[in-house]
Symmetry: C2
Subunit: 321 residues, 2 copies
């Protein structure tokens, strides 16, 4: 995985180092507790796929500028802030295989930790010097709140259908990927034209792939996302593999599924989802969105950067862990 990302990063290698410098600079603080929280979060900093997407999109659309680097830092900081608050909300003690900020510090402190990352995201947006980029980040902040609330309501009100599910992932993961493409294009300082729209569309499809793949991993031992298997079920989230099976089921089967889901019988549900084709169906959907994402790149010149984005899409869709 790491090697594949390195290869994809090749066309924007120098820019990635500059992005990292901006990212770290935004998190400086003279407060010891803030530094401890930042260090803890940075220890498991993830694959930073979103800033990579910003840089690649900028380079494909125009040229990487200093604004691109700050925009990449801003979106990654916003993403991390939302993960911190999501962990507080979901009472998740694991993040990327390590104790979450919530687990390490108290809930109170973790709320403030998320707020600090959110403010840092805003500083980086300001450093781009472009008001359109600031608005894009603030719109994304609102969208993430809405996405998380939709997800909470869905679990609470037991709304189990694909339509609702796709609404949630479009509002959360996919919207974040779209924003990466938009930021990349805006930061080149060119007007946004049809090609920018194609990049944004590509990113939406890529984001859906990414989320569906995460959902699949939740049913597999040794899944990559550093959460225990069945974590989604544990948190009361019915994702696509199970939703498909649920929608296909007879009324009496539906009752059985709900009983197992509500009593968090992970082993039973795992088996059912495999047997009844939930995994295969989700895999088909992943392939469908992967192809859609690749199609969006057709009008772009065949450069190493375009190739890198194609590899990015393939990696997201086909990764095995």
């Amino acid at each position: 995985m790491k090697q594949a990302i390195q290869q994809i990063s090749e066309p924007v290698k120098a820019a990635i180092e500059q992005f990292k410098t901006a990212y770290q600079a935004a998190l400086q603080s003279d407060n010891a507790l803030i530094r401890q929280m930042v260090d803890h979060v940075n220890q498991s900093s993830g694959k930073q796929m979103r800033p990579l997407l910003v840089l690649l999109c900028a380079q494909l659309y125009g040229d990487i500028t200093p604004a691109t680097l700050h925009a990449a830092a801003s979106i990654e900081l916003l993403h991390v802030a939302s993960l911190i608050h999501d962990d507080v909300i979901d009472e998740s003690n694991l993040r990327r295989g390590e104790p979450s900020l919530l687990a390490k510090f108290k809930s109170k402190t973790a709320v403030l930790g998320g707020d600090f990352f959110l403010s840092a995201s805003l500083s980086e947006a300001a450093l781009t010097g472009h008001i359109d980029i600031v608005s894009t980040i603030s719109d994304m902040g609102k969208a993430l709140v809405k996405g998380e609330l939709l997800q909470l309501s869905g679990s609470k009100d037991a709304i189990y259908n694909q339509n609702y599910y796709f609404g949630v992932i479009k509002a959360k993961t996919a919207a974040l990927f779209c924003t990466c493409a938009k930021l990349g294009a805006l930061s080149t300082l060119k007007e946004l034209d049809d090609k920018a729209q194609r990049l944004i569309e590509m990113s939406e499809n890529l984001g859906i792939c990414f989320q569906l793949k995460d959902d699949v991993f939740d049913y597999q031992e040794g899944g990559h996302i550093g959460k225990p298997v069945g974590n989604d079920i544990q948190e009361g989230k019915m994702t696509l593999p199970l939703l498909y099976v649920y929608e296909q089921a007879s009324n009496s089967e539906k009752e059985e599924i709900l009983q197992a889901f509500n009593s968090k019988d992970i082993a039973y549900i795992q088996q059912l989802v495999v047997e009844k084709g939930g995994m295969d169906y989700t895999q088909q959907q992943i392939t469908y969105y992967k192809e859609k994402a690749l199609q969006c790149l057709q009008d772009f010149e065949d450069t190493p950067t375009r190739k890198a984005i194609e590899q990015f899409i393939a990696l997201v869709a086909d990764r095995q862990k």
Copy 2:
């Protein structure tokens, strides 16, 4: 109180209505739960003294522009966001005499409610069109986190001295007031000169007055801030009236005070603070900072706007509830 604020608002009356429109527009959402939260928060919207300060400072320094209105909305939204998260952190069920967002919704939802107000603050900052204003808001966001963490650490580590206390209120309340003056001046699109510095200094002193007065009210029945008497003690916060008495006390008296403080013996502490001069001392400090704030206005022309700011300072320092 309401009448006094109306009088102070007179020179910027039209602008206040425009600020309110911008504030409400920033909180629009197509999500029902977000709308419920916004409505709940708006029901007890407070005195909105910070946006009033932005408008008055802008008018004293230059001219109110559309950027002034959005900056005023942005700082008020940031302030409300921080109150929402503070209530989650302090587990406060009352805010301005009404159930807090935490009390009405669950802690999870209230965290997201705060995030929504924070994102709305950012949208309004972007609408000013001025990157310096966006940076000022993001710096303030970081400062509020730091202030709240300082306060939490102070309570946890039992740091009881005036120096630390003033550090906390400068980082929280006073910094927010300073930012109002800075936003007011920046939004006139004039360069910031010595006069802007005087306005910022005035606001810092005003902010300290404001906080000290709140601290006094916490010891008085029928205090204005819509929290029960002794709420600070309940939350483990030792504020100036008690800090003064504590610092003056002998070692054995200190032990007694700490015992009463830790066991939240509010009646005993209230009586002690009055008897040992803690209230008088705090009142002297309020008068000291009030005079300092008024002095900062000396170089400004004697206009109705300057007069309104002077009345603002007097109101904050002398209000009886």
